[in-house]
Amino acid sequence: MSDRKLVKNGQVCSLPIRAEDDLLTARHAVRAAALQAGFGLVGQTKLITAASELVRNCYVHGGGGDLVIEHLSPPPRAGLRLTISDDGPGITDPAKALVDGFSTGPGLGHGLGGAKRLVHEFHLETEPGKGTTVVITRWAG
């Protein structure tokens, strides 16, 4: 239940999110990592979709940033932890931003809340004027 004993197996990969093409690159990298970690089809699809939402938010709302992919392996479970961070404007009201239908742009406003539902752990840290970091974890299998 607690992730205190998480062991990282040393595989870390960091990708810049600076241009529109980086969204696709990020998706590919998450897919490759999910396959390597032994994710099933549904788990893989959920994680890639969550990553797609958060990476797009990082690019569109946060002005770009980074995606870090970590393999977690506390035996017998394998999982992936993704950290998506930017030093953009931050989110003034994170609770509101998580509600389906809330968007400050033309979007449907389901990205943030949807991403949260698609993973096993979700942490959002944001400060107006400083930026936003979202850390998500999903276990394989």
Partner: protein, 124 residues
Amino acid sequence: MNSSEIPILRLGKVLLAGLSNELDDKTALRFADELSHQVSAIGAEAVVLDITKLEIIDSFAARILVEIATMARLLGARVVLAGMRYPVAITLVELGLDLPGVETALSVEHAMDKLAPPGGSRVG
């Protein structure tokens, strides 16, 4: 003619478009433009979007698909989304996106059956 990378096939008054495994933002937007152009150009009665290969539908792609359906409806055409993969369907439900106004079918064949008038000749 078809400036987007998604091939659009014409079968009588039905347009059939086959999406590939990946739908990036730019391609999606170009495709929506191209499709609306063709729907109005031929007076299409229906559009079948074959998404059998599409592996990911995120909220951006979902929004484009709903926009395509709305646009087609305004132009007098039905849109049928055919062949959605089950992990994609499960993921869309969790995203809270049920694609309002978009008809679905199990496969392209089912979509064509759906479009065929009962007892009449097959569309296309």
